[in-house]
Symmetry: C3
Subunit: 138 residues, 3 copies
Amino acid sequence: MKSYKKELWFNTKNRLEFINITHEVEDAVRQSEIKEGFCLVNAMHITSSVFINDDEGGLHKDFAQWLEQNIPHDPKLYKHNLTGETNADAHLKRQFMGREVVVAVTSGKLDFGPWEQVFYGEFDGRRKKRVLIKIIGE
Amino acid sequence: MKSYKKELWFNTKNRLEFINITHEVEDAVRQSEIKEGFCLVNAMHITSSVFINDDEGGLHKDFAQWLEQNIPHDPKLYKHNLTGETNADAHLKRQFMGREVVVAVTSGKLDFGPWEQVFYGEFDGRRKKRVLIKIIGE
Amino acid sequence: MKSYKKELWFNTKNRLEFINITHEVEDAVRQSEIKEGFCLVNAMHITSSVFINDDEGGLHKDFAQWLEQNIPHDPKLYKHNLTGETNADAHLKRQFMGREVVVAVTSGKLDFGPWEQVFYGEFDGRRKKRVLIKIIGE
């Protein structure tokens, strides 16, 4: 069994951002030289997400709007923010969007359906944060 | 390390449907001849889900009702639908229900608790769509 | 390829509880003697979750409050409860919080960012329930 690890770094300008990282994950699979296995991609921070969905700007605005309407940022709403934080909403938004994805690797490639793209989702940005890519297989 | 791959196809009559695929996943584990490992089951489309929950019809209606009340279908609510689509809600519903499950394989079987069943969740049906089963181990 | 399995047991006093199980998962990784691989941690019951987030009591109250406001317990709201159950909300809460996490194992340790902690989330407690830890790798 082989394994391969890579970290990606982000520092978003906005509090909430979605970044397409599909090419970076594909590069990691190539570099791993693993032909059959699993590729794990996860946020290493608890106020961000990795998820698979569509690369369409209108949809990303819909995601942002749903999240803000259903899990509003307003720091006064949350007990977590009594600690001095202002990001309780980001911890909850990440639960909705998910921490990680596991993707099959088949014949040396991400085994994707027609529209699957991997995104980093940031909900409390404007500082350096990381994503982990780990691939195991043969 | 061994690996095994299988695809399942669906074409639901309704926009929203939940289909129990536990037997198909169990069959794939048997065919793989893998005794110890991981079994990944994921939707290959971004408007559907694979999830693990209870096989009880009333509960499935509760899922459908919660999803419709909290993420309504109404195409006018979403910017994604300015592209001509009508399924922005399906992209969001799939984030709530999840894209994939990873199940342990132990002694050649899905290592499940007493009530765990695997479901395909469709939120924008009435066309052909796929689920991927990939198993790695020994 | 090596594999290792362990089960954890819980019997919470309250219907809703969050329990930090990071040490138990770290112990399992050590006992497995696996240096590079994946660690799956999943609830074996369909009214509970395993998730990764922050170990801060105020935030856990925020999680509980959001879940109760958006997925209320009131048994009269759900068709599932016509079967005699009272836990339809717990099945839905677990979809929001997630069933499982997959964590990379690197150099014999959980490959975590600075604040990642693993939690068992119970939404229908007061009876014996299990979590599965399965590790594969080399």
